[in-house]
């Protein structure tokens, strides 16, 4: 069965290593913070200028001067630091953030990503996404494998305006985990109960399938 949003987030959290600095985009990526294994520590970076983002506040802790990049009220975790936007993007562009996780409309076999604009339809802007995909050491894209009409989001070539080129190495969808390398998607894991044939049928770009494709394991 296809994974729920929470299950995708759980699989994302398995990628984190002890001591990682991680930036989580809006949506499914943010949910991954709820599933960090108990035996490791990660520190969340919010690009508006907070390293060490804590949970949302109680009514007593509520403070208009404490928000995250999604403009939601948050708290600072123990050991947090707060800084200006140039400093925040210096750590992103300078490759100091270990992991960034973000959503996308499309990804292609060259590691290109489109996530910020649908011409004549959506003109919200890219926020920090272009900086994040250009700067982070490891980027994971989370998304549904196909849109609600069944059209694949894993393409040979992206059709929408790009957010970044040649930068995506790993994709976690509701159906599969894939690596992007050598001009193809490489299937490494499938969601429990999802067949390789279903993944093939919903992957438009070139897909390399090994003989054995293990199912994802959830603790």
């Amino acid at each position: 069965m296809a994974l729920s949003r929470d299950q995708i987030a759980m699989r994302v959290a398995q990628e984190f290593q002890d001591g990682d600095y991680v930036n989580l985009g809006i949506g499914i990526p943010t949910l991954a913070a709820n599933f960090v294994p108990d035996n490791i520590e990660v520190m969340l970076q919010s690009e508006n200028g907070l390293l060490g983002m804590g949970p949302n506040p109680t009514e007593e802790q509520l403070d208009a001067d404490m928000i995250n990049a999604g403009k939601e009220t948050v708290t600072a975790a123990t050991g947090a630091s707060i800084f200006n936007s140039a400093e925040s993007f210096a750590m992103i562009r300078g490759g100091h953030v270990d992991f960034t996780v973000l959503g996308a409309f499309e990804v292609d076999v060259s590691g290109n990503i489109a996530s910020w604009m649908i011409p004549n339809k959506l003109i919200k802007g890219m926020g920090g996404a272009m900086d994040l995909v250009a700067g982070a050491k490891n980027i994971i894209v989370t998304m549904t494998h196909a849109d609600k009409h069944g059209n694949s989001k894993l393409l040979q070539t992206c059709t929408l305006p790009l957010t970044g080129v040649n930068c995506i190495t790993r994709i976690i969808t509701d159906l599969a985990v894939l690596e992007v390398k050598q001009g193809a998607f490489h299937l490494t894991e499938r969601a429990p109960g999802v067949s390789v044939d279903e993944i093939k049928s919903k992957t438009a770009g070139e897909l390399v399938v090994p003989n054995e494709v293990p199912e994802m394991v959830f603790a």
Binding site: F83, I123, G125, M126, G135
Partner: protein
């Protein structure tokens, strides 16, 4: 004003000299850390044809959104404008221009502008619509695009505390773009929650030194919260 004392007592004095078609750089992220009273003063002055450089454009009826409502803005330079229905409408009507700029590039454009650096190379935006028409160059095998810095006729900035000389500190994530904006204005106006006497702020804790600041005004802030989310 005498010596380094930059305190003014009216918003009219604070924004004196603002004219039609000028460029105004504004600090703030969403509604967090915005110079509310200075924005309101621009509305009062009815200055038209402004170019506003700010990460966001407020929301309908609050923050910079009130200048859109009043049709005072010709162009916005921002990274994200998704919270504002009026913005979208004016853009589609052709009443408003927008230059969508990656958030880190925007911060760096302000920082570089204030530091006398006219342009810089960055990997951000290479191969995307942001890089179209811009010079590109490889360093160590990786392509980068040349981005020009930004300066403004005015910068409007919100801080927590300032002394009369303009030395200031920001509070929590209300810092955001404010320190960069402060450096990039020909005239930089600082609106603060509290003015203190010189010597009261610890020198090593100052975020923005007073040299960047031209005018300081005691503000009065609503501090509206855009997305109140509480612990479950």
């Amino acid at each position: 004003m005498a010596g380094f004392d930059k305190v003014v007592t009216s918003y009219a004095e604070a924004m004196a000299g603002l004219e039609d078609d000028m460029t105004v750089i504004a600090g703030g992220f969403g509604l967090c850390g915005i110079p509310e009273g200075l924005i309101a003063q621009i509305k009062t002055m009815q200055t038209k044809g402004l170019t506003i450089v700010s990460n966001n454009c407020g929301v309908d009826s609050f923050g910079l959104g009130i200048l859109l409502e009043n049709k005072q803005v010709k162009k916005m330079v921002s990274s994200y404008v998704g919270e504002n229905a009026l913005f979208e409408q004016q853009l589609l009507n052709g009443e408003l221009e927008v230059e969508l700029t990656p958030q880190g590039t925007l911060a760096e454009k302000m920082r570089a502008g204030g530091a006398g650096i006219p342009a810089f190379y960055t990997a951000t935006g290479y191969g995307t619509p942001v890089g179209e028409g811009k010079e590109s160059r490889e360093f160590n095998g990786r392509p980068y695009i040349l981005e020009e810095s930004i300066t403004g006729d005015f910068a409007i900035v919100k801080a927590y505390k300032a002394d009369r000389y303009g030395n200031c500190i920001y509070r929590h994530t209300a810092q955001n773009f404010n320190p960069m904006a402060a450096t990039a204005g020909k005239i930089t106006v600082l609106e603060v929650e509290e003015i203190v006497e010189p010597g009261e702020l610890e020198p090593s804790q100052i975020h923005t030194p007073g040299i960047y600041i031209d005018r300081v005004i005691q503000g009065c802030f609503e501090k509206r919260i855009e997305r109140k989310v509480l612990a479950k």
